[in-house]
Assembly symmetry: C2
Homo-oligomer: 321 residues x 2
């Protein structure tokens, strides 16, 4: 921590590669985002691995050329991936399967370090570095979106686990007899609380969507806010599942702060109230009752800030090579 | 790790304070137990805090006087406790409530460091240092006994969390609608899998105990081994609950090895087979399927070895003052 913050430093080039868009930002050592740019992620059956890579490379070269010198490149990308090697197979980017993203970026920017991690882990690092978890040493950052991901900071340092996969709160079991999960397991948090599962449950119970799939979770939250009982029940169910998983994580890891972000968290109290109620029912131990469950503070820039932190605060957030 | 193992070292005086007995051992730097002694823990309504302390102090002074010089004192004690201050309120030692055990031991042995942790955490440290978790950097050690406790090693280091309580696997939720737990929560692993709960469930379902309470879990395992269907069902239920909790912990922490010890683990395959089956049903992610769930290797000496490791390998197992 000391040396990172004592020296005058260059900014980091931060990159966030998702299924719908690619974002780049210049993150200053203090955490300010000096510049941001975004392009849509090329999609469709005709997009192969190299086509997508050329888009990413051209976008980043252009962005970097217009900015100051930078200390390194920090990247968040959807998983799964091999870590720290950075060969990525993002669920929502079918063009890349075992694609050597970190290696390619290192070839593109040969004079500075390139560090890559799961996008949910970058968001958690961002929330710890400059968001809702700032100042606490034991933090779980959760992202509830198309999937449910997360990252774990213990003792002030990002935890990677055996293969860089620590923080996978989405696959904590919240109901052993619950629905099958895309991971092959059963009753995982993600199987119940990911946006599409929440919307699907509501539809099965009589709620009608009026838009296309991408916006259903937001529509659901809107309907719930207007008092639609099935929409409320669906958010209750997701909140309950989050409460159970957070109680388990709190007991196992002795956390101080749990931040919850991602699209579904925009539902606000409609999600957080049942979450809190269920969480309180399941945390009995005194140490666990002290934990604070709060909305993520950084919004959509959390991922970029966390990617920047892999470079700018590597002593806390980077254990790779 | 380097400096602890490079220098020639004195042994550690290791202490394990439980509800039924107090054990002391001289642990050599390589992990050999050079000497062990045990006395019963004074019990009953007439035992107050100071009476119990005098028994502990006299026993340890006598044990230490008969042995070599030692580098420090490592202590495991039942929780809850304040950590690292070491004020203890062990559930099964009613005479001590907020008792300043670490401070008293420091007064008794003023020239060496005294380090104290939860007994289940010491057992996990022991299994990591010289037992089933040796050589792996990401290990959860579980103890299934009167309670269900544990300790968590990530990145090769003991994790303490915000208040020294990390590793509380017993309060991971395995069934959100399950039985109430002594902690005040509901559906915790401990509420289902602790020895007395397993025996009670069996009794409620028609299994008859023939002995007194202390031996019911062992009798249950014996009856299960003879094919008693209710006894088998009771161990199945405990194994299933362990399997769910271990799947959750594995996903959250990206573990390599989970060791399971304590009295109930003596049931062997009658417990481990349903555990493994349920665990496999709930771990879908590829990284999680690699974890090995194994019986603890050290038996009843794990706690003493781990207490010794707080002193002898403090760079890995001691984050306190």
């Amino acid at each position: 921590m000391g040396h990172d913050e004592a020296m005058p430093q260059l900014p980091a080039l931060a990159v966030d590669i998702g299924g719908t868009k690619i974002a780049a930002g210049m993150v200053e050592p203090g955490g300010r985002m000096a510049a941001v740019a975004r392009v849509p992620t090329p999609q469709g059956p005709q997009i192969d691995a190299e086509t997508l890579w050329r888009t990413v490379a051209a976008f980043l070269e252009r962005f970097a050329a217009g900015g100051p010198a930078f200390a390194g490149v920090g990247v968040g990308c959807g998983g799964p991936m091999s870590w720290p090697a950075g060969r990525v197979s993002p669920l929502n980017i079918p063009a890349w399967r075992d694609f050597p993203l970190r290696e390619r970026l290192q070839e593109l920017f040969p004079t500075v370090p390139v560090r890559l991690h799961n996008d949910a882990i970058c968001m958690a690092a961002g929330e710890h570095w400059r968001g809702a978890g700032r100042g606490s040493d034991n933090v779980l950052g959760i992202v509830v979106s198309t999937g449910v991901g997360g990252g774990l900071i213990l003792g002030g340092h990002l935890v990677d686990g055996a293969s860089g996969n620590a923080g996978h709160i989405g696959h904590v079991v919240v109901d052993p007899h619950g629905p099958p999960c895309g991971c092959g397991g059963q009753g995982c948090l993600e199987a119940i609380a990911r946006g599409p599962a929440v919307a699907e449950w509501a539809r099965e119970h009589g709620w009608r969507t009026r838009g296309h799939e991408d916006v259903t979770a937001r529509e659901l939250a809107d309907d719930a806010a207007r008092g639609h009982p099935t929409a409320r029940d669906a958010l209750d169910r997701a909140g309950n599942a989050l409460g159970v998983a957070i109680a388990s994580a709190t007991h196992l890891c002795d956390l101080e702060v749990v931040s919850v972000g991602g699209g579904l968290s925009q539902a606000g109290p409609l999600l957080f109230d049942p979450l809190e109620e269920t969480f309180r029912r399941h945390v009995g131990m005194r140490f666990a009752r002290r934990v604070r469950v709060v909305p993520a503070a950084l919004g959509q820039e959390a991922g970029l800030l966390g990617a920047g932190a892999l470079v700018l605060a590597g002593d806390r957030y980077w254990n790779g090579d």
